[in-house]
Symmetry: C2
């Protein structure tokens, strides 16, 4: 295979169904002649750094060097002294934004057709600071941190995303009525940044009201930007609206590098049985291609994928079909 002009990107295949769904993505990208070359890296089962991380310094450096990585699902070992691999990657690589587009897929029955929302989540601070202690016996204090810089980064990213993707509205979600200083700062920064994007309609909403609207009628919502914890909850809520975590792409964006990932689990019950649905990892890979400005390849694969899903002839078990991972993969390749 010609290496010339091929860009290297990192692949973490993952545990459980990870290797099979990774293979599906590799095969589809190969068939579409996407000019990238995969460099395989591992996430370990035992700590390999002093901080209890499951990923080596060399791999972290390499992600920064190559700029783009795609990641399958991983099991986090249970027990003290481990840090979730997601949290590690976000912190160590300063992946300050998590982006989760959720779009209804024709052919996948859900209560709400016509959903097309994007959650943009601050990915580094808030309740995720990891700062907690027991102040007196039976009373724990957890520090929620909100910094001007992180708010600025995420707000700017949200509006740039909206502009680049032709989205019309950005809504900042917060609870500034209760956390007047912390969420108040987030809201104020969003409001200030919005002034630089006059073509995009900006509004704000309390996070509880937004949860209400998403459950009641999500079709009117466009791009949402919000602090870490709210984003964790809302992005999963949105995945629920369009039929599951098996169908949603996710990107973690930093200034130096970007890690795209399937956010579903490792599904150990069906691992190795050629039954897994590779769509979430595939859509994440497509998001990555768009970020790499390989849009033609991205769009071609995306159209093929949606058209296979819409036809409904080759669906995996999670979508009520009877196809294997390889049947589904082949069906997509045939449409390219």
């Amino acid at each position: 295979r010609p290496q010339f002009n091929y860009q290297k990107v990192i692949l973490f295949p993952g545990d459980g169904i990870g290797p099979e769904i990774s293979k599906a993505v590799i095969d589809i990208f190969d068939a579409a002649k996407v000019p990238i070359e995969w460099e395989f890296h591992e996430i370990h089962k035992k700590r390999v750094t002093d901080q209890g991380d499951l990923i080596t310094e060399e791999t972290l450096k390499q992600v920064k060097a190559l700029k783009y990585a795609l990641k399958g699902p991983f099991e986090t070992p249970i027990g003290k002294g481990y840090r979730s691999i997601n949290v590690t990657l976000r912190k160590r690589l300063q992946l300050f934004a998590n982006v989760r587009p959720c779009k209804s897929i024709k052919g996948v029955m859900t209560p709400y057709p016509g959903v097309d929302v994007v959650t943009i989540r601050e990915n580094t601070e808030g309740e995720y600071s990891g700062l907690e202690h027991e102040v007196v016996p039976g009373v724990v204090e957890n520090l929620k941190i909100v910094s001007y810089n992180a708010c600025q980064n995420i707000a700017q990213y949200a509006f740039e995303y909206a502009r680049a993707n032709n989205r019309k509205q950005v809504v900042a979600c917060h609870k500034a009525g209760v956390m007047k200083q912390g969420d108040g700062l987030f809201l104020k920064v969003c409001d200030d940044v919005a002034k630089n994007y006059p073509e995009i309609e900006f509004s704000e909403e309390q996070i509880d009201t937004m949860a209400f609207k998403l459950a009641n009628d999500p079709t009117k919502i466009d791009v949402m930007v919000m602090p870490n914890l709210y984003g964790d909850i809302v992005s999963d809520l949105c995945a629920g609206l369009i039929g599951g975590l098996g169908l949603t792409a996710s990107g973690n964006i930093g200034k130096d590098c970007e890690v795209y990932e399937a956010v579903h689990g490792t599904a150990p019950d069906i691992a190795g049985k050629n039954l897994a649905n590779p769509t979430a990892l595939l859509l994440s890979g497509i998001m990555m291609l768009k970020a790499m400005r390989l849009n033609d390849y991205a769009n071609r694969i995306e159209n093929a994928t949606y058209s296979v899903l819409e036809e409904g002839k080759f669906l995996t078990g999670d979508l009520g079909g009877k196809s294997t991972t390889s049947d589904y993969t082949k069906a997509i390749i045939d449409k390219l």
Copy 2:
């Protein structure tokens, strides 16, 4: 009207549509010969205590003395030095539990029929501590407080509620994977308390996964118990699932007293026009009657209400009907 044997309860009619929907409840309760007598109290537009509260010490004392109160919607004046009336009531009266049952109503079209969930929310601490400060310029710290006592109170209440209401399952929602000490404490206490209720199936779920499940298929979920902020978000999410805040009851429970309330807004655009839907306040009043062990009255009014909604002949505008508040009220009275 005979005062003998009548129990006094407090009514805060509220702003906007508050007085009309309160009148509807009063009329329906009167028609059903509910043995209570209303004592009207006000929530003020200007601060009446040193803490910036909008409610007098006398009223707070009277709520404790009479034990039960029903509250319409209120506008919170905007500006510094005010405290949300909800937060005031919860803190000052130590209303440690917020209970929000959400049940699909036949006749009200929603994406999910068959929802019957109850959110039980810790109502006094977590991110609602009100403790925040700017540690260095541009960095705000907000204290999320989790105490053994508050966890114990809410966990016990949740299981007692489940037992009293014949519910089969309680699920504790948390983010203990990230907030290991704070949410970890909450989870541990729930787990311990669960052991005293062997007839109730106990489980736990990360709050993001729970949001996913609620959006994806809420029909399998029963009673949920969770910390303050998650409960704020999830209870509104659940209201969205069954057709709106105009249809959901809410109770704030303390050891000394209980305040039931309609959690929707004051709807100033339709205020005074005899167009408002009194269902949320009515269902909250029915919850109050059950707490007062006036179950026969409660059930009779509840059945009448659901049957009017199901028939769909007398619906208010928010439900796609053309009836006035008084038509709807009369229809319920006619079914008693």
